[in-house]
Amino acid sequence: MIDIFWLIPLVPALSTLILAVFGEKLPKKYISFQACGAVFISFLISLYSFLGLLKVSPEEYPIVKNLFTWIHSGNFQANLSFQFDPLTAVMALVVTAVGFLIHVYSIGYMAEDRSYSRFFTLMNLFTFSMLVLVMASNLVLMFVGWEGVGFCSYMLIGFWFEKHSAANAGKKAFIVNRIGDAGFLIGMLFILVYVGSTEFSNINNAVAGGSLSHGLVTLIAILLFVGATGKSAQIPLYVWLPDAMEGPTPVSALIHAATMVTAGVYMVARMNIFYTTSETAGSVVAIIGAVTAVYAGTMALTQNDIKRVLAYSTISQIGYMFIGCGVGAYAAGIFHLYTHAFFKSLLFLAAGSVMHALSGELDMRKMGGLKKYLPYTYPTFLIGAIAIAGVPFLSGFFSKDAILTSAFAQGQYFVWILGILGAVLTAFYMFRLIFLTFHGKERIEPEVKKHIHESPPVMTVPLAVLAFFSVIAGYIGLPVVLGKNVNWFDRFLAPIMHKGHEAHLTIGTEWLLILISVIVALTGIFIAYFFYLKKPSVPHTLVRRFPFLYRLLYNKYYIDEAYDYLFVRPTLKGSEFVYDKFDINIIDGAVNGAASGTGFFGKVLSFLQTGFIKDYALVFLLGAVILLGLLIF
């Protein structure tokens, strides 16, 4: 019953094709029906295959379906083949389930847009690419999905391309992603040459068999991770994600929160043998993840744009996932990916609902007290915030705790401390967001206030479903302290994850860690409550006290500007200089110089050409006579 899993990506592909060709002529209702329906069918097939997978014994993982040989030349072979194993199952389910809900939500959100069919074409294309990414059985095909989602992200960020900022953001996203992709590609080339195949099973065997030197494994792992930092917006390539919020909100929810940005995590988990084999690479991943988690959290503190706060929060949460992967707890990382997909898309969609209510307003300073206007959005938003903040009994708590516990267990105390710090920040900025938006004084502009309204059911129902999952999704991966076999998720993924050295904590330590997590989350919430509801003057005082720090955070550490001055401008200016001085003056100058030199020489000689026939005849005869003389004497 699992044999049909390869149809999962093909259904959205077919739908994309139809929409791309006929989209403009189809009625909106049909478009929405087809686009959502395709993703829903994919979801059903995924679910069906997943159930089938449960019956397959772990020895048979992964189940591979080879459609045809795609590229074959000499030693290079890439197949168009899909595989299905627990990791793929989780990803495919997340992508199709969340994707379906967001598609449904978009019907309401994009209802008035004039490029309705383009939107759904791209959304379906994205779903297809993402499914290819997670279902590919080799690196090359995975790269196809990898680039494909990047392209869709480019198109969807720049969906409203008349805005300069949107077009710019799309381009920036694509180019920054490409920098990462270059690293990924180089890593892939190394694997191709040294392993001779890009099938994941062959790569795993080769690395496990020790046919690659340790240094090489580290190198490849780090190169692949460069690709992950690009796609998953980690230091130093995270700069595109905040700008990516220029896209429609469902896009931000689907691509820039739930699925695409977590592709890097998926990739690291998929290639886990590299990071298990090379401790250095693992540590690099964990440290980058941890630093990003805190760093992005600090930037979220001062942002006033509701979507940008969520964007930084996404960067930070992905940092957690990388911590999990870096310390060898791949299942925990993927677990966080899975829970995060629900609550973060929930938060984005709820934010979208807020925007929808406020005629597109994004600035939190112009909100406040929305609680009473948005009776469905508010509770769902709150659930999402509680989940992400790490309050016990909601999904985010279990997954974040699993990661931090693993980090601690592996002795990565530095990473653990950063993780805890990040957790405080997360709780703080999320509740700052809640309080500024839904509580406190109303600061809504009167013009906007007139049109304020709750979103239609087609938008709120997906919110409710996501909120439901945000609450319960965590219960498939309960902490070990609650029982030996309660972490079903860990066991499910275990067959394909290569364990490094196992480290066990005592029950007491684990409880202690959980306690710390809880305290930290509640502290963050309390500080936010204190700052923004109890004493709204405190933040202002702080700003006045530390103007430099505030400006640094507010301007995102000036990293965009730094990149601009360090990389973009020198490249452009340098190229312009080379073009003017070298290309035009020297190379072309040499060419034209040769031409004008010839011309000058010709002009000098042309005085011989008097134009009189007799002169020519005389010279001609002279020549003939001399030649004749030479011949006979």
């Binding site: 008097t610 007799k614 005849a617």
Partner: protein, 100 residues
């Protein structure tokens, strides 16, 4: 029988006279006549060789030369007329458009 060399020497003399004439005359028509003389000199040589080699090829060639000369004269004279119309002169000195 006249020795063949007589003819050849005559041919040479005619040729040189044509050449020198071409150089020292100043109007296009006479120069053109000198060219005809040079052609004729060649004809004499051909006929002489044809005779001594007992081959008709030489005569045939002369025949063709005369035909070509006729064609050439027609076109050449037409060009001279054109030059005259343009410049109101047939002196070669007056035409030097090809000056570099």
């Amino acid at each position: 029988m006249i020795p063949i060399y007589y003819f050849l020497i005559l041919s040479a003399v005619l040729f040189v006279m044509g050449t020198v004439g071409f150089l020292i005359k100043k109007d296009l028509i006479t120069q053109f006549m000198c060219v005809e003389v040079m052609l004729n000199a060649a004809n004499v040589a051909f006929i002489a060789f044809a005779r001594s080699a007992s081959s008709l090829n030489g005569q045939i060639i002369v025949f063709f030369i005369i035909t070509v000369a006729a064609a050439e004269a027609a076109v050449g004279l037409a060009i001279i007329l054109l030059v005259y119309r343009q410049k109101k002169s047939i002196k070669t000195e007056d035409s030097s458009l090809m000056k570099g």
